[in-house]
């Protein structure tokens, strides 16, 4: 891990930072679940393809905890391909020659949408911990305002994995008339105790870093990069599986023939995790990490509906495709199954597939042919029912 101090990772307000912006004005602020009114709010988003004449071909992609709006083009900071470029693009599964694909950075994020690193208009200083605690519901409210702004009454599909899947479920529950098809992938209707526990480890790592300064690190001209890197390292383990880790690294040593009898990264897996941690801090804000993990922890669609998850979907006309992966222990199949049972109880039109994969939670981002074949079939079937015609 690099010991050199890093100043604020990315200036998303700089001229030339790519992407589109939509502003929710202070005159019509977002009413957050906490009761706070927040405005103005910037929603940074990317779009791909063209909205058709009757505005029926829009697909909203919701990103995961550390994802962002650069779903299908090169990332402006890392230079890497978009995080879901395997399935989104011209001629791909989510064919941007057919669909108008939108992906927005979540509220509280750090890639251009309003978050804790931005300036608090009432103080002129960075929000830091004065930023209001946000929820998955608040993220979706901000997205809905963007969709209003784009003039789209009903989305053809809302799709996302992990925290993105939570947003999908929130969309269907909060705006049942506005989602024709929903694809929650590798996700849950509520964050489990184990998941909250892992998040707490990450948050404590950040807050234990002296450079965190009670959240006011921007004013101090430093970043809690060591804490954030440790948070990322711990979280990254939960995205993989034991099988995948062992296949990739085993007990192989890193650039050495024998053990060092010290605490260098002897093992490849240590070196890999350190790399994951140190590259993450270049593109992510520590306070955003606190806020977004909190939003996930607070998510409980069942509790929000009086303890009956089926109530969240009463009368739904949305077509669902629920997907889980066998080796995902962060959002295990049992959570998806409970969701499917609730959807069945609501007489929803639901498909549910569990994909065999040993790649853990991250499988949803990877090349999983069976997942892609199922997703393609579902989208084609839904498009047929929606009456979408592609020339």
């Amino acid at each position: 891990m690099s010991a050199s101090p890093r100043i604020a990772a990315v200036d998303t307000t700089a001229p030339g930072f790519p992407g589109r912006r939509f502003e929710i004005p202070a005159s019509a602020p977002l009413r957050l679940d906490s009761g706070v009114e927040l405005g103005p709010v910037t929603v940074a988003y990317q779009s791909y393809g063209t909205l058709n004449a009757d505005k029926s071909n829009a697909v909203l992609v919701c990103h995961a905890l550390t994802g962002d709006q650069f779903v299908a083009d090169h990332h402006p900071v890392t230079g890497k391909p978009g995080w879901w470029e395997t399935i989104i693009g011209p001629g791909k599964l989510l064919d941007t020659e057919r669909y108008f694909v939108i992906c927005a950075n979540v509220l509280g994020g750090c890639m251009g949408s309003t978050g804790p690193k931005d300036t608090n208009p009432s103080t002129g200083k960075p929000w830091g911990l004065e930023f209001p605690v946000i929820t998955i519901g608040d993220m979706v409210k901000a997205q809905a305002r963007l969709i209003d702004h784009l003039g789209i009454e009903k989305l053809f599909c809302v799709i996302g994995g992990s925290m993105g899947g939570m947003q999908v479920l929130e969309w269907v529950s909060a705006y049942p008339e506005r989602v024709f098809a929903a694809v929650p992938v590798a996700t849950s209707y509520r964050h489990s105790a184990q998941n909250i526990a892992f998040h707490e480890v990450g948050r404590q790592a950040i807050m234990a870093d002296p450079d965190w300064h009670g959240g006011a690190y921007q004013l101090a001209g430093v970043t809690p990069h060591r804490g954030l890197a440790v948070a990322r390292m711990a979280a990254h383990i939960t995205y993989l599986s034991e099988t995948a880790l062992h296949r990739k690294f085993g007990r192989r040593l890193q650039n050495r023939a024998q053990l060092s009898y010290g605490f260098d990264a002897d093992f490849q897996v240590e070196s890999y995790l350190r790399h994951q941690g140190s590259t993450f801090v270049d593109r992510f804000d520590a306070n955003s990490y606190l806020y977004i993990t909190r939003a996930m922890d607070y998510f409980d669609l069942q509790a929000e509906h009086g303890g009956s998850l089926a109530e969240a979907f009463t009368g739904t006309k949305t077509r669902f495709c629920v997907v889980s992966f066998t080796s995902d222990w962060l959002f295990p199949t049992s959570e998806s199954r409970a969701l499917v049972h609730a959807l069945n109880a609501a007489a929803a039109n639901v498909s549910f597939v569990e994909i065999v994969s040993d790649k853990g939670h991250d499988a949803f981002l990877l090349d999983e042919p069976e997942f892609h074949s199922v997703l393609g079939g579902f989208l084609n079937g839904a498009a047929e029912h929606r009456g979408l015609k592609f020339g």
Binding site: V340, V350, S351, F352, V356, G376, N380, G381
Partner: protein, 218 residues
């Protein structure tokens, strides 16, 4: 990486004009435009036929993940699930028809399953191999071994069919459950309906399969 546009054959929309004869017999009982749940839908042949030929809102439950994935990949609404455990989730009267084709004998509690079928749907359509058909009786009587036939093709030690019954047994079960038999017919070894008035002693002797339309009494 594989080209995501090239979907497996199963993923390409191809309405099936022809289906197995016994499934056709079931399809003919279904009113167009209704809501149907096919339990044990296999590769989705009947669902696909109903969706395309009868504009039915067709849903399925299938126990094998490979079957489910193949169904969803062709655009059908199917969940992985088990007739024994998952029917209880469905709301009462949520469907016009619940179909259980060639699956009852493989469930662990057929009595509860039949009860659930008539709860969740206005009508239940149930078909099953008839263990009372003459050649099965003959095989057991003369051979002294568990019969292996076209419809019951697995050996005793590997068969999924753990609750085999005869047409008469099934009629008795319906009586015990207070379920009305709205229609009953038998199918021959090719799955073609035979013009026998079932239930009856002759049906139990000659029918290869029983096919029943049930509804909850009252």
């Amino acid at each position: 990486m594989t080209d995501p546009r090239v979907l497996p054959v199963a993923a390409q929309a191809r309405p099936r004009a022809t289906i197995r004869v016994d499934l056709k017999a079931i399809a003919e009982m279904i009113e167009p435009g209704t809501r149907v749940l096919d339990i044990g839908c296999g590769d989705g042949a009947l669902l696909d036929y109903l969706a395309h030929e009868k504009r039915v809102d067709a849903r399925g439950i299938e126990i094998s993940q490979a079957g489910v994935n193949a169904c969803v990949a062709q655009g059908l609404s199917v969940v992985q699930g088990d007739a024994d455990t998952d029917l209880k989730d469905y709301p009462t009267g949520g469907f016009d028809y619940a179909i259980l084709s060639q699956t009852l004998q493989a469930t662990s509690d057929p009595k509860a399953v039949v009860g659930e079928l008539v709860r969740i749907a206005r009508r239940a359509i149930v078909s099953f191999p008839n263990f009372g058909v003459w050649h099965v009786r003959l095989k057991l009587l003369l051979g002294g071994r568990m019969p292996v036939t076209d419809t019951l093709s697995a050996a005793w030690y590997e068969t999924p069919n753990i609750h085999l019954c005869t047409i008469d047994d099934f009629v008795d079960l319906c009586g015990t459950l207070g379920v009305s038999i709205e229609k009953a017919m038998v199918l021959d070894s090719q799955g073609r309906p035979r013009s026998l008035a079932a239930p009856g002693r002759l049906a139990n002797l000659l029918g290869e399969q029983g096919l029943f339309v049930l509804r909850r009494r009252g």
